[in-house]
Symmetry: C3
């Protein structure tokens, strides 16, 4: 056992941190673009009901292909609009047929005169990029100024990208901490073998934080890992030349691996979208881009293995973060006793960038 030199002794003071806001109750900040569905989930002429932190949102695609996002409840009797019908450029409630256009305006109540039409429902800015449907759930006035994530590797033909995701029953903060603390390789010992992560340095700025890691292997490298990440040149307790950088750029997270010559060989972009109002459940959207090797088709052939490998890893991560959430629910407070400075900084970042209060449901018509 050896001391890791860059651990700063002063940052660990659980009694002081007990006074601060419980991170697991900090809502995600709504003034960002969040993917709420894959493009393929919303077919032409159909609607899909999704959730952002308890807010019901309907994504509708017209027959001509236009996409729009509205509050997912009829102003009349509050039933979800996604249970209705997409008709022309509008969506029609399935109960009494009230009709809304893509801006949320009520344009028809079959049994009421046009001059007496009620208020409509809220509309959300909505954009589609790289197979993801992004919605801006916060202050509409800020939407245009706020950039969508860039995702350069996804657009680059030198990379092959896997889209993946699923629902995980925990607060989004557990997900950020899981990925950023590479000391959790022990969790993946069956896939990864005995590896030790070494944190090599960290940087931070306004709204972001990143840390570099190298890895030392103890014992033999498993075949699966070698196929996915390439065989490591050395064995024994020597560090590999690859550098992994994990970055939280609020609210997104990336994990990039660069080889010794600086080539970006793996580029993961991931975000955890809270589903329920209490933000105890998130839907994860991930884009994992792998640089194609020199040999044509090699990556395509190895793809099923990569899928299997990442699914296994993700399954273990999900299992452990859900156990963390369960413990928090039972204990009613954040009892974590963090000793790793990167994670303590990450927690501060998530606290500072998070929303002020839990997002309240808005009464239909208030914003129309």
């Amino acid at each position: 056992m050896h001391a890791v030199p860059w651990l700063d002794g002063g940052s660990i003071d659980p009694s002081a941190s007990a006074q601060v806001r419980d991170l697991r109750r900090v809502p995600i900040h709504p003034d960002h673009w969040y993917p709420l569905a894959w493009s393929s989930e919303v077919r032409r002429g159909r609607a899909l009901g999704v959730l952002f932190a308890g807010e019901p949102i309907v994504l509708a695609r017209t027959e001509s292909g236009t996409l729009f996002a509205l509050e997912d409840r009829c102003a009349h009797r509050q039933v979800p609009l996604h249970a209705g019908v997409v008709e022309g450029d509008c969506i029609r409630c399935g109960y009494h047929g009230w009709t809304y256009d893509s801006t949320g305006r009520c344009v028809n109540v079959p049994y009421l005169g046009r001059e007496r039409l009620p208020n409509g429902v809220r509309a959300y800015p909505c954009r589609e990029v790289h197979g993801l449907i992004f919605v801006f759930p916060g202050d509409v006035a800020l939407a245009n100024a706020r950039p969508l994530p860039a995702l350069p590797s996804v657009a680059n033909k030198a990379y092959k990208t896997r889209r993946f995701g699923r629902v995980v029953k925990c607060h989004y903060s557990f997900m950020h901490e899981n990925l950023m603390d590479m000391n959790h390789q022990f969790l993946h010992r069956r896939q990864m073998g005995q590896m030790r992560a070494r944190a090599r340095g960290r940087r931070r700025g306004e709204g972001w934080l990143e840390v570099d890691y190298t890895f030392a292997r103890k014992g033999k490298q498993p075949v699966g890992e070698a196929l996915v990440f390439g065989a490591s040149s050395k064995n024994g307790d020597q560090d590999d030349q690859d550098v992994m950088t994990v970055r939280t750029e609020y609210p997104y997270q990336t994990l990039q691996i660069r080889s010794g010559d600086g080539t970006l060989v793996m580029d993961l972009w991931i975000v955890y979208v809270p589903l329920d109002a209490a933000q105890r459940t998130n839907r994860t959207f991930g884009l994992l881009s792998i640089r194609r090797p020199g040999i044509p088709l090699a990556l395509d052939l190895a793809w099923p293995l990569l899928v299997w490998f990442t699914e296994r890893i993700f399954k273990e991560d999900r299992w452990i973060v859900e156990l963390e959430q369960e413990a928090h629910d039972k204990q009613g407070a954040d009892w974590n006793h963090e000793v790793f400075p990167v994670i303590n900084e990450l927690r501060d970042l998530l606290r500072n960038c998070g929303g002020r209060t839990v997002i309240a449901l808005r009464k239909a018509g208030d914003t129309a």
Copy 2:
């Protein structure tokens, strides 16, 4: 789009209605006769546990056929009496054998002297009509004066009656509003085709409210509907001659269709009995009487289709009212934005006729 002339503009004021009692929290009034089971559910020598607004009630039928209704818990250890045994004219708790007669008096504790018998349990007035077991859960002194529903078509051989029902997870008020607002034909567009309801007039009195509708068809009449209700003589956007009257006579509801010559061709009687204390779930009991046509057996042959048709309609209604209840639960208040005056009057009626407070559980022995 056309203005419906009889809409009164003054009645729609959501800001004012925000002050009134939340209709979805108004308990049903207990001083009425409610069916709690079908006669066939309580066989001779057996007992059945049922619920009225969270109150457990046991219906027991002796071997000789007498029916009685008691509080469904033993005065001793509170276990349900329906888990016990009907013996002679009594019911015996299945745990330690305490025995109660049909008035709820404790007549035997096997290990205790008769002179020391404890108090018994509450008995409920109970009557059996047309295959339904009615119980009076309110003030016993009022039971005899309060009439049972008449149900003349059920007793009339000119009609064939279908008994139906199921559990619906919503407050009873959503059911009343669903049936009374015939503008919800849009919900049943797959069964009914494109129809438009026109409200033709409404009447009200002490404890009741009714509205007449005629229907205009747009496009072709589906075969199923034609078989059940008869082929409509005209097509196109012309009103049919049939008049439908929907009536809430607290706490029951009826829907009657009369042909152009005034013949009652369909007569539905329905009631929604709350099961749980919060009254978020109801058991529906319905009697649907259809006048037999001139041709013998025609109705019997069409019966399976009618069953299928009404089941489909009912399934859609259940689906939508449960979505309404879910929305209310999530929003914690009644955000409905009603524009149809009939429904606003119906809501007032249900509020005014409803119970004062949620029915409290009575401690065993308090009323004996």
Copy 3:
């Protein structure tokens, strides 16, 4: 019906008892040895997560066979240690690899220097007897002085012992009352036939209470019962010579049957261990010892029948006590109306011996 002479009239006063502490909310007292698992559930090199009144405890057995019990959550991120790995004499958290020895001390954090190791987790006294793993969840200082239960019949070759148990969804007090009140034979009428219990006398002391019963049969003895307990010499309404003694010696319970000549023919030891913090669920551990008859192998041959018979009885008991708990949950208070003095005394005993307040979760590290 006849008066049972030794019933004392003065003890039944529900209005007075309404003032006392609700027995169903009295936590079990932690200063006793409780079995938390069967020995066979914790194999070498493995760990098992168990619960005592909501407190998570991990039982770990090293490859060399040593057993230890720790608080079942890592001091770091609160995930259960039972999800980790037993390594040497230690247990290692499955997430970041923090390692604890059998006293709960944290002896390794792979990425931290030894001089900076954090506090560990709580350790529990732990002993293994007769195939049961006992843990002392209360004040550690009292553990050595407090005896483990003796269980002489289990160790005696003249008896054959059946180990049984399962989870029952009720407060432990319902279990004690169920077994001690033999007037509940009516519940087991299908297995036992028509029997009447007669309470023959009761004794009590500090922390214990016991009552003797004899049984009178009405009608024919079922074959199953005869095989298990022996054919009763007489039929008709005459008392059998066997005496059954039911004893609560807090927190354990025993039921012993002695034949006319004083031989102990059946010896049951049983305990109900609360699993959840609200103590609405318990895990029952039972040891049922039957004296081997003169004929070799007779008991072994009859064993499957005995298993079937006791399972049936236990199933009925579980069913009824869970109904009692459901009634209590619904009523929110103890409405029981007890008339049997033994049970009223038992309730006082359980109240007096019970814990003071609900056991609070301890924050990791508080006790290390």
